[in-house]
Amino acid sequence: MRLEPVANPSFARTLGFPAMALGLSVIVASFLALLAGANPFATLGLILKGAVGSQFAALETLNRATPLIFTGLAVAVAFRAKLWNIGAEAQLYMGALITVILGTSALGLPGPQPLILIAFTAMLGGALMLLGPVILKTRFGVDEVVTTLLLNFIMLLFVSLLLEGPLKDPMGMGWPKSPRLESEARLPRIVEGLRLHWGFALGLICAVAVWMIETRTTLGYEIRAVGQNLKAARFVGIPVNLVLFKTALLSGGLAALAGFSEVAGLKGSLTLDLSPGFGYTGIVVAMLALLHPLGVVVSAVFVAGVFVGADSMSRTAGVPTYIADILLATALLFMVLAILLTRFRIVRG
């Protein structure tokens, strides 16, 4: 058996194999449900019902998908330039921190202006979080995987420090929790009475914007050139370091919006469990989407659906929620195989 490259992968090929990857991961998950002593069909049915079975469930899935759209976009745009940003988690917390600091002080601005100011400042903060590692990378060749990863822990400890100290809510009965945002700093719901906030819409807008940047602008062209062939990019005079800086600003900014959206749209205050690893899950989301910005939306909703559905299923069926992690992990592994199979065909002999 050998692999032969496929010159121009057909549409069916590019969609079919990833779909098969998802199917296979579901089969693996069913097997595990069987091991846990539950009926796999019922388990999967419950996950599906828990994810999209009711209006409440579907909106919960979209709410959960919102931060993943931002972190997924952040990872996707950075990985396009082969800038390995593993620090979306830290950038998310930076965004959340700035949102809380600005949102708890009376800004005295009319209309949506406080929100716009907060969002932009949060983006700037997240962007600066990634700029440091990129300067170290371009100046001294320090591996950004290491620096961005370590910054995640530094940031989490820093937030913990603030929540135990200056940012601690005096009315919080001793819990490490920030005060609640002023109402002018809260993201309103898209439709009154439905539990879905404007953060989700902002995520969709960002996805389209990133897609436009990647395909329509000189920056996007430069990002793709740097990611695809660094030597050629240098030879033709693309300012590689500048492109990496811009990519870092974009990526860090997008990840920070996840923190902004979670605090201003959903939680209203900052706690240390704001993100159950949204930054890391963003890598899974981006990889599942093959780094395509619009695909990130789809894969973020899928990943969120699996988590929300598994939560709900475990309450009724008694199968551990870890099945969600396994489902996603196998989906990612099979997806890597699917990517290979869209580009190569297996030849016998």
Partner: protein, 512 residues
Amino acid sequence: MTTATEAREVVLRLNGITKRFGKQTANDSINLTLHRGEVVALLGENGAGKTTLMNILFGHYTADAGTVEVFGHTLPTGTTGAALKAGLGMVHQHFTLANNLTVLDNILLGTSPIWSLGRGRKSARARVKTLAEDFGLAVDPDAKIAVLSVGERQRVEILKALYRDARILILDEPTAVLTPQETDALFKTLRKAVERGLSIIFISHKLQEVMTISNRVIVLRHGKLVGQTPTAKTTPSALAELMVGAKISKPVPSESKQGATLFSLRGVSAHPPGHRTGLRNIDLDLHAGQILGLAGVSGNGQGALAELLSGEAKPESGEMRLGNEKDPPWSPRAALAAEIGRIPEDRNSVGSIANFTLTENVILETYKNPSLSRAGWMRWSAAETFARKVIAQYDVRCPGPETRIRLLSGGNIQKLILGRAFETSPRIILANQPVRGLDIGAVTYVHERLIAARDKGAAILLISEDLDEILSLSDVIRVMSEGRLSPEFPRGSKTAAELGRWMAGEGFGHAA
């Protein structure tokens, strides 16, 4: 060499080999026989199907139809080891040697299980020595590959095949990287091999060499076998016509009119990072309307010089002049702004981005121009129009501008790069190995374009390892060896053999 090969034993027979890639037929029912003690030259343009045929022979591809017979036994299809076991040996254009191992280790690698490499070394060394003496392949078995010259490395490749008892040798463009003297030595070895009953398939674009070494010539065009003739009964021009399917006239430049000095170096030295050869106190002038041909064996500082002209590097010491400007701010963008057209040595990993489309590749150097982008927004329709223009004017054969460039042959990639550089009407042109690995049709085309640019007044630096190319195109020739430059030799004042001695480092004594 004898021409009465028909009566001899057939050692290799390809029967009706057909291979399709999608709609394209790379090999169309090709029949080929090779006799004992025969040298068959395989000629063909890029994309004619030579590489595909060899890949089928070695089992890397599976043929859609047809069989391969070696010494009368049909090879199982698509099994990579079968051809090697049956006695075929391949010497690739790009060597497959481990630089950090010795010659002996490289030869033994893969012949015996890895844990027994230590055993039987004595007998192995003796055998390598005998083979080397028998075939005139002088090389020290204990030398590390890294310290060997290109010619010596090729000898190791041949020894490797001989050590594995290859009875049929296939050489892919073996002379592309050799000096004339090294080529002569290679031919001596091949003749000795033939005397001992080996058979050889010799893949080359250089017609003169094909005429010298082969008994029979087979010509492929567009995947079909279009001609088969004893070498004695044909001429280089007849072969060239068969390959291209049309009459070919070698471009002959007229007398040049030397114009103003557009670029000059005075006492320039440079030490590129790594172990590459730098420049040692070099003086150089590029004149308008003149082709300066830079001969030399690869890796003698040509890369460092090319990087200076392309804007990738700056001189460490000495003076650089661009027109009247002394030591200008220098970068790839500055070089492009100074109207320097650049054809890089490595068209695949530096000149183009494999996964980009033709459109995306053709605007790499000019995408910032107002015609191609405005206020940060790409004008893709204008870019595509430009790509179509280059594709049409430079005869780039491709399905369309939306094709990814990795699917194109080397010649067509080079034509696109040529179009990208020439469409800006450059005043200075850096042509670094512009025709390496290209077929005769593409070579002629590139050379015509270079001469046309010269006639329009461009100053051209042509860097090449191919002395024929240097001798036929250059108005002035200089030779580079170990980072030093020879004096200027006007057209026709030196023969290939004389230049070969300069390439080997003779004559620099006083200059160093």
